[in-house]
Symmetry: D3
Subunit: 286 residues, 6 copies
């Protein structure tokens, strides 16, 4: 798996390795394995850049996101780094209101960086293994499909360091799974949970034996999605994200407006033809 | 089961057979089995009429919806019909904006026809077997309770023909089941899924061995619902649909206003009396 | 378990016994076991008082709610009491609009009393056993974490007495579990369901062998939560409740504003220190 | 003005006369002048048909709505008719809940008929003169631009017959004008107000000396609108209606999706060319 | 005016005098004229009680609210009192997060007290004269109809004491008047504005020469409203408040459900009869 | 006026001149007077940068925005530039769906650039004179306070070039002024309107004799705002923007959370002290 060719357009990133394990598929790897892929400030700024670039890259139709190394998807926030320069540091000397302004701006930017995964127009499949704590859950909640290996150890860890999770877990997790009792249990206790529990509540939709197997499955699914009409796939992602946050009636209207343009594509004819001729269709770039 | 008496008031429909398998229960059958119950334009117009009529028919308190024949609940949109006259045909000669206007109107009417099932004031139980693709999921999402047989083969098929599902699946499915990761998986890949998977994620709430067994169970449940106070049952359906699309606070207020009238019914006394006397209550028409 | 010390500040309540089974934990027991803990009008008024007091009691950081006796969490509304003086009684002589006004006010106050559990700033864990009908579900839906014993018998019972559930079940249940088909099934039929089914759909997140075991588990979890930073825990509850009723974007903004103040706490330093030193942190009152 | 040619496609309506006073302009006249244009049940059903037909009539790009005769735009609901067969009649013998169901269905259909004016894709300019009471305001609130003559006498009359206005005034008036204090004044007192007051609060945007002058101005404005790109005009109406009921952010997104199709029109080139060449553009039908 | 009889049921209040200047009309006077009717903590708690009592008092159908004395409607928050015990005092010794919790609870209760005016089921007309600063605007925004005298001096004063108005002005003013540019001007500068400006932007809907004249007009309007069907009047207030915060579609549905009960009143017949017989109707209590 | 010192930190911008006409006040001038300040693609990208920088510039507390030269605030979109490279150009060769994707991305970025004015944490006062068409209105709607000179000529010009205004006018104008009839009139006809009309409907809140007088007034108001507590001023702007797009209840809650931090400022004490001592307060940077 590791030998997939690098994507040249993404060579400049320091903390993320981007390769192409298949046609129209990009594989993004969080690459700070010596620190359990924990996130420094510079990393989440870079994460935003990576996904903004993928969003409009016509050579990419599906994305896989995983963590480098054997031990962790990511251990979350690098607390040492945060204590020095970031959200957990003390500005000093400011009154409570001014400190609050600085914190609010900092949180808003942090949220915006992680939300870039959700805003990315192409579907993103996350593959989680080993340690997956705190920010790991914020990130996972922004991906479209979640897959994990047997050995994964999840936790919504924030209350253990004295804060409410503010980078997206509390906003998205209740809408991603089917038991609010379970959501509150794991968010209020910060306890660990594993692959089986994650599957049972619907947080992940597949569990595999090993990281390698999970990654292979994710790449296969990404390849399958990338073989479909990109007009249809990207429209489906956009409309589903809209659906989560709007009423049924609102979404029906939005979808009608969306498809009024999206149906004016050659992909429908290509897709129908290929179904009849039982061959693989090709679609123009998007 | 097939020998349930026809409901005379519904005899004029071409594509739907409506019978009465029990007191206050209507059974609607999609009846185009030679074409796997695939939907032509005329069919969805007729579907709307059927459910508008059921909605205020005082002789009906619960509805079962199934597909005729052994092979399919419905194969979805009749693509040949759609290519000739409908959403997938080419108006020709119009500019992109004018084509979009025509498409938007067409989609809005199509959505409105299928949503008639959701708007029907009486609860609707769908029984799905065999092939249940594309439009089958849009339809199922509008029913209140979903039941299937072991042999069912579901798929959110739209991306395979180059489009985002626009008749309601993307609007309703995320709110009907408990795993957004699973929803995105099946919507983005268009892959098949079966009865066990549908049950595990909560898309259906019962699985039965055969179509006959599923239909029998649905009719029994419908009969059970039809034996309750229609004021209570129809109020419960309305308030639950409101609940899905509103905040808890909004729904509590709406429910208070609703019940301020609904509690002024003789059904409460009848129901309480029958509980004490352990006999079956009768309720006036509604 | 029963020997936990009474909390003196709560000694004045007639229908609720409040004890302290552990540091910063309050255990509220519905105490009308001879009537299966069925709710009279005076009881829900008292329930509101209890939870308003707990909400700002600096000596309480987590709450357990259960029913006294072996037979029932609660059998729900005391129908005899309701027929005499409450929502099911007839005001007589008033026209339909004026009767509706009285009913609307009555329902609004009833809802407000039960919602006090949700508004309580401290997390509430419900432990349900035996009979848990009608109002039991309304109450459970207001608690944060739901636990039950094997012998529990749940039912959304309202349609059986001729009315739509209006004290919160229809507003909250669809957002608490992951299968709308199941929600409509149990709400429209009023049928019983047990512990296994409740766990499968995510209504409860733990099932235990007996009431005693369930209660012990709840108290242990409550104690665990009470050992964490109260700033973090109470913020997490507030933000999760906001999350259920708002868009992701709205919630992210709200959370940023919340944490801009909440991060200005000594708890973060205490928590981080205790993680490093692997000892139990202490937190100031809140 | 009266000699404008009749539009043949609308000849079959009993209560509405539809003429064409200019290119692509339709003039709809409420025609029951001997009864002050008061609305019977059959009339609002017909009103819906008229505006549904106008909505997709490619020969119409702007609509003017006025009342026939010298005395009234419309006196509102025909109370005699309503007492016999409609919303104010007594179904008799039904309990309060069942009566409520019938009333709810009746109100919903009535609302839907009047809302057809708002749903009409083409802009509608109302011209009000003389008596304009009750339903007159519901209707006016559904039109896009409101013009009146000096002699107009408006009133939100409903409280005077013992009911809250339920056909749209209370829903739309607070969003149509700029003083909530004034809205509550006129809705709670049912008092008359005239042209000057209507202009001052923004309910109408033009006042003219006589009905004839107001009608002439409306037809001129309609003709002016009808000379513009129908893609641009109809898009503007749709997006403005969406704007009233959504957040700025939601509307920006919706508008982007809308214009992604709407900009693919030849009208932009035609419009730009005609601006440069200072001549009147022609646009294809829509 | 001052000799209107006291309403015995309201004799116990310290800061508010409640009289009855006409049938079914209550006049509430803020009574701390020696301090320009500035609000102490105890006053807003009492204000809530007064309006909760009025809300369900069957002898009251309309309310007038004014300030005692010649000099002020109210000078707003009593800053001395607030500095000693309230929102502007310093709890001391708590960290920023804990202080924030106390402030949040305090603000929430303060808001709840003032919002009691809006929640009052009966229409409230405010009469403002002289000094009307800060909290005066919060209070005025909760009343239904706003009237003032020529000498009034308004200001959204909060930024001048270093804070954003948090008791309701910023929430309600933008929806009460028709110029957002003006709203931001007066809220950001804290500058004074007078009667003419308030009328021009729609903040008040009537201006009178003197306090006495304004009060007389308010009492006359209140008497006029109190002579109408209370079912219609109270329904109109409730539905208009709902309208402000919901979409047109949502409000239409809510209104239909509301009126399904409200139309089952004898008031409609009484009102219609009195219109025909040109005499004053009488209505049962509500 | 023109001699106000340049702000060095903003010297690098090509199309915008930023000066400081008073303490803590920045004056941004659109500087392309030879082209009537019409916007090229590069200009709106730069506009975003300018306002992002102002948003967190601790030396700026209020902003004035005007257009350079005598003739125009701005003539709107530079149509020639747009035809060559932007939204009105033809990508060529792509199908309708792919063209729509490119247009949607383009519109979204354009909207985001203009919305930067609204997102700027400091209040922005726009001063409009001469020609103010199309994009001028989109921009004005993003500013907090709108001022104009007598000679201004406004128009929502978009339908005249065949499109619906998509950069914010249709989203914001209905919420900025008090007559929806007027909004639809000017948006559907694209007709000109002047200063008096703009004032009457509340689009602007001040009109001055000349551009110089308007600018002087704006700078004076900005200076006045800049002399207040920046904590209070910036909080007021944020909460008012939230208010426009949320319910009263939602906004009250949000404001409570906001002020729980904002009240922990030294500004309250400074402001109160300066009121008592009748001297000008000083506030720390923000």
């Amino acid at each position: 798996m590791a030998q997939a060719p690098k994507l040249a357009a993404y060579a400049g990133y320091q903390y993320f390795a981007v390769t192409s394990p298949g046609a129209f598929v990009a594989h993004v790897e969080i690459s700070r394995p010596d620190k359990l892929n924990a996130f420094r400030h510079a990393m989440w700024l870079e994460l935003r850049q990576v996904f903004q670039q993928l969003s409009t890259d016509a050579d990419v139709r599906a994305v896989v996101l995983s963590g480098a190394g054997d031990r962790a998807f990511t251990a979350g926030l690098d607390v040492t780094d945060a204590s020095e320069s970031g959200v957990l540091s003390n500005d000093g000397g400011l009154d409570g209101a001014r400190t609050a302004t600085h914190l609010r701006r900092h949180i808003a930017e942090f949220q915006d960086c992680i939300s870039a995964i959700e805003r990315c127009e192409k579907p993103v499949i996350s593959v989680m293994h080993g340690i997956a704590l705190g920010l790991a859950i914020d990130i996972a909640c922004c991906t479209d499909v979640r897959i994990c290996s047997q050995d994964v150890r999840f936790a919504v860890k924030e209350v253990d360091i004295g804060l409410a999770a503010d980078i997206g877990t509390l906003a998205r997790l209740p809408k991603a799974v089917g038991s609010l009792s379970w959501v509150k249990d794991v968010c209020l206790t910060a306890r660990d949970f594993g692959a089986a529990e994650a599957l049972a509540v619907g947080f992940v939709s597949q569990v595999h034996e090993s990281k390698a197997a999970a990654l292979a499955a994710a790449i296969k699914t990404a390849g399958f999605i990338a073989s479909k009409s990109p007009v249809a796939v990207q429209g489906t992602k956009d409309v589903l994200n809209h659906s989560r946050d709007h009423t049924v009636e609102d979404n029906l209207k939005y979808t009608g407006v969306w498809n009024a343009a999206a149906l004016q594509t050659n992909d429908v004819a290509s897709a129908l033809m290929s179904v009849m001729q039982k061959r693989k269709p090709t679609f123009e770039k998007l």
